[in-house]
Symmetry: C2
Subunit: 354 residues, 2 copies
């Protein structure tokens, strides 16, 4: 198979971890005889520094021409500390999601047995958890009109959904549920929000086309609680952009660490694969980041982007093996024991490749 | 002390639990020689059934004339299943919050040692946690304009904040932080939302007036994760209406159960005290609900509403004692052991009163 992959390292720990996601793809290419070619492009603060823009036209052009994108992370403390800055790194990520029509963000909560202990949640609560989130990614309050009054004392963001936006992601989520445990939980705030009422109505309609899937509707506040109270009860979770952002970060504690979770954004064309962790400026450049989420992003690219199941499985199994052998990065090591061999970003990356 | 208390039982388990919150106030009145008089009023589905309105004028009138309000819960499955219904129970709660100017919702995460085991989170992660949430309660996407297009295919809610709304709750939160561990974490999504940027800017300004308090700003997705990863790091958490709704429900797992958490809504005049749990239709009328959150709501009324610290402490200590003696309601009992004496709503209520 011939594939042209665009690597966008982005900000913070993005470059460090993406190195290993890319290396994993190269290695898989070698082993299985695929011809993966790579290009690189700028986005976020890294792009602002060079071009003044968080998403330069050139990056978008390259993205459109690629078969898949491997992305690192975005964001920089400078902008977080100064909310008045007009040009911001995250605008790059939001724009590329919109421009490429990446309306469905899949976030599988993959639980490695070896990491049951790394979570703040009790192992017996976690064991057996297997959740696949479908987060809507190109609508909601993320993309609705923003206003700031002239006196700067009033600010607003429009939370808005169109029926077709809910329908298309609902279909994807139901189709996935049919391949899994046939349960779908749709999360909204329909007791307060009109956009959630449209969401719920639409999901109720689509549900009729999938009578083999059991549908539940849950309010976001309750879902945030149930997710840690009893994660096993969830199979596919379908939700809006903002609620999905919150729930999936929360769910990262189920997997032991954000450093272990990858996501796939798909939609109209090219798929976009990235860790769910952020740019983590505080540890950037210190060889402390966990490269496994980027390698798992590559696994998702192989599986979801290219349909290469066996290749994806090899990556996941290798990570499982490395964890079984007691190797850990800082985020997933238990500080209280000497049971683990704690590695830096690069050592961990190399080990997985070996 | 003479106080006139309005009891609004509301829907679902509301009436069952409020019975005990009210009884606890009566008992405290007797013991300490206060003259508490009670009135009752309708709200939510209970009110719609009788008057057609979720908040009848009579209820609002009584509320304005009372010194404090003890509320139960709101909501009904009928409306959850049919998003197209125009008159909805929750409108009553939102309207009374707005009409009474209850802009600050205080949600203390009170951790009873005895319940450390009832949580899905590891006891060693929880031990020592003591968080006080300040959730803004009369602004945000809850109260911004709602629209639905004529073809019913587009729906929106306006997420909007005015600077004064952020200022007044920030002051309250900072003042509380000064009395506590002098740390305040403000939660927003300033990397994406304009209303969050106004929020962050404003909190940064107010922070200057409280140099003895250490301020941190956190994105909501990260906060949802940190809250269960390391709850001890939080002292006062200040956040917007929607984010506060989500985070405090999530935080209920820290306290072992939603059935243990009370909240106080304060602002311009009369205080409003309620459990953070919902109407839980599935267990309503079955003597399964936990009345402790309602009794703890009464404790908050005594402390925050009337400044009666000793009286409030007696209630909290009594609950602590009952838990120490091994008594539990279903939600906080560990199903796997026979260590606990599991009681129904009424038995637990009676026991605390004794
Ligand atoms: C960086 C930020 C804009 C982004 C989001 O909120 O979508 C991130 O948190 C994510 O989840 O991918
Ligand atoms: C019932 C609902 C409208 C309410 C809210 O969202 O505010 C509830 O969840 C709460 O937290 O008090």
């Amino acid at each position: 198979m011939k594939k042209n992959i665009l690597v966008i390292p982005g900000d913070g720990i993005g470059p460090e971890v993406t190195t290993w996601g890319k290396a994993a793809l190269e290695k898989i290419g070698e082993i299985f005889g695929h011809e993966f070619t790579f290009e690189e492009a700028l986005m976020g603060h890294a792009a602002i520094e060079v071009t003044g823009e968080p998403l330069p036209d050139e990056t978008l052009e390259k993205a459109r021409q690629s078969d898949a994108i491997l992305f690192g992370a975005i964001g920089h403390a400078k902008y977080d500390n100064d909310p008045s800055l007009k040009v911001r790194p995250e605008q790059g990520l939001l724009k590329i999601r919109k421009e490429l029509g990446l309306f469905a963000n899949l976030r599988p909560i993959l639980l490695f047995d070896e990491l049951l202990q790394a979570s703040s949640i009790k192992p017996e609560i976690l064991r057996g958890t297997d959740i696949l989130f479908f987060r809507e990614l190109t609508g909601d309050v993320y993309f609705g009109e923003k206003t700031r009054s002239e006196d700067r004392n009033t600010a607003s963001d429009l939370m808005i959904y169109h029926r077709y936006e809910v329908e298309r992601i609902a279909h994807k989520a139901y189709q996935a549920a049919q391949q899994r445990n046939k349960r779908l939980c749709s999360v909204d705030k329909a007791n307060v929000l009109e956009s959630s009422r449209l969401w719920r109505e639409t999901v109720q309609e689509i549900a009729k086309q999938y009578p083999d899937v059991e549908t539940e509707h849950m309010f976001i506040d309750n879902a945030a609680m149930q997710l840690i109270k009893n994660p096993k009860k969830f199979d596919v979770v379908l939700t809006a952009n903002l609620f999905g952002d919150i729930l999936t970060d929360e769910a990262s504690q189920i997997a032991g660490s954000m450093g272990m979770l990858a996501s796939a954004s798909v939609g109209e064309s090219t798929g976009f694969f990235e860790p769910i962790h952020g740019s983590a400026h505080d540890i950037a450049g210190k060889d402390l980041a966990n490269p496994l989420a980027s390698i798992l992003s590559s696994a998702l690219m192989l599986e979801i982007g290219f349909g290469l199941k066996e290749e994806a499985k090899l990556l996941v199994d290798t990570i499982d093996q490395v964890l079984k052998e007691g190797f850990r990065t800082h985020d997933i090591a238990d500080q209280n024991t000497n049971r683990f061999k704690v590695l830096g970003t690069a050592e961990m990356g190399k080990l997985v490749l070996k």
